[in-house]
Symmetry: D5
Subunit: 96 residues, 10 copies
């Protein structure tokens, strides 16, 4: 089941440098593990912004929440979730 | 070059039934042609809304505009465009 | 899988009376059928507004979209969808 | 009398760990006590957000305010209240 | 139980003159009947706008909805409802 | 001359406890003095929010500003002012 | 007593030409009569928009409403009212 | 004196085809005349939208308003105006 | 050339008292100097808010920016600028 | 490929003076280097605001993001990006 997720990051400008570096490293590792597992299908940077647009493919709303809640950057993020469905014009699902 | 495009459709409730059917058929054919050509990479329905979220892969802003401007449903759409860049955590572009 | 759905209805003030009555009757029958089937778990009127707040329990985003897209009032509605997950304080899912 | 209440939580990222743990424990106990008493009818997590959607069944606006004002997390919350009424299509209240 | 209700009226500029006059007369009579009965406690015009701010004193959310839903101008209104509670500084309810 | 005033209060979560208690006590005394004098006609709590809706009856815009500017909580408030006029359906001012 | 009033005009693009010309002529005469009487102190066009920013000097909220309600363009306007007070830095009212 | 102007166009979907063609032709001629005269310095299409972003270089606010007010598409446009000033980092105006 | 400027002030609640007093004194002197020079034509307090609405009469956008940028309170302000033009109904500029 | 970019700057009012001066000097140098290289085509100050409107001419979305992400003021900015295309009325690209 697919979800589009927009994540906006706002790190405090006076954040401790070590905490910042550690958090970003853990975020990257966490994201890549889920990408390899197939649940985090796409991640794109929104040009000019500290934001990403991602596509998740998960078994349930509960699993989606579990993934997002445990993001190392979660306390610094504003997150918007859009549940996606098949589009009738999608050539992958249409016979016309 | 990737762009996320959100399209919200608002057809008049008193739209002529034949015009409506023709426009929707042309929209589907137009979309599928571009999907097959590889410029319209993804199209998803936003659950519960007459909207889609699409990912385009085009050579330029001008080409993106040309594609969207010629959508048969363009006069009935509100469109939001977000230019996308590679994300440093993307496993497709990262070596970590 | 649970979703909160807010539906705002805007009927044209000059809508044909028979069309209006028929559409409302079909909407009610459609809603009650889904309530009886257990997919439309709650429906409440938002006091003072031509709106409802509903809770759906469905198997997937695709099924949710199918239900909402086929609402007889869909062409007259603005719909907002919020995917819900279990809350750790919910006594139904917590042992504390 | 039913109310839908949306609660968004924003804890300071530098909040004292002990204060945070204590506040969350008190919040959970407070919520579960009211759930058992029947006034806090539902609590759902909004997927991907530090937010919940709840349904309260209380005797009056004053009682609703008393409950919300005394939430241990109240100083960290943004709260939106929607009074609910019976919907004519609700199978629990309709004979059609 | 008190509620603040803001009503914004938008009559079509091409509304039939007789229908308009009849609707406004019925609205006035309906409002005054409820004012005399004590449920519609205050009605003020918002200066410079086709809007009013009203205070209702009703037994329940259901009664509030019933009153508002049956306003002759309801199909032309945008309505915002705010449930009110006693304020601790109110001299009518405070002993300090 | 009547004005509706919505006041939203946002106290810092780390505010000094004594300063907070003093400020709230002064706010209450200040409000009650003006209520007794007849200029602050109504004060209601907005259910579930640290906000009030108040009705003032003052001689001028300048007097209204003087009252609000001197609220002990003014530096912590977001304030919205709506000038009110007599409504033609008000039974207190209508002979129909 | 001063008020800033922003008026945005939206005439239907298919408005009858004679009705339009008559309404605009009546609006201009009405405005100029009030300017000469001293109640409509300033009127400026907002550059690039079918809008004006005006300053009124009236005896009361009720008089302000009466003036605005009777604008020939009132049914086509969105109006925003801001009550003004003396500013302590105004050289006309300050001795510093 | 420079101004950034964003123009969003919304033509009625049932607009008369001849009127539409004539209006668009007049708009293009009008714009190009002002471009050649040097007052309309830049015009860009906002990708995916029936909108443009333009830069004007005019002698005064009054001249800017005169130009925009007389756009053949003005009745169908929403216009946003931003006055521009020299930026201290602009290499055309900086010696550093 | 006229501009309407809305300035909203947000001083930190923990601002140093001496810095605050000095900044406010400098702001007042600065404003009054420009009022006497004729460039700052009007300044009004928005009732109930730490805001003012001002009218400036300056030679250019650059001069307007220079004035506002050098306001002692500029770092604490949110500023909105609206370029104004003559209104055809203004009796000062109309012969009808 | 052209992009309009709006950058709003919000420096903390208690920012270290040396850090502030250094950051601004680096920002200016960085901007001017890109202007000289031809990628940062225009930069204008938005009158009365700590904001600029800029036009970039870059090879790709990725290059645009790289430029903006490395702005010394990036952590203090809110940035809005609008991809631009050729406008059919532009005399530089039109033969009519």
């Amino acid at each position: 089941m697919l979800f589009a997720v927009k994540m906006d990051v706002a790190l405090p400008t006076d954040m401790d440098a070590q905490l910042r570096a550690d958090t970003l490293a853990r975020e990257k590792a966490y994201s890549q593990e889920l990408q390899k597992a197939g649940e985090w299908r796409h991640i794109w940077r929104c040009a000019g912004q500290y934001s990403n647009l991602s596509i998740f493919d998960v078994a349930s709303n509960d699993r989606l929440h579990e993934i997002l809640w445990n993001l190392p950057l979660f306390p610094y993020m504003t997150i918007e979730v859009s549940p996606l469905a098949q589009h009738p014009s999608d050539i992958a699902v249409s016979d016309s």
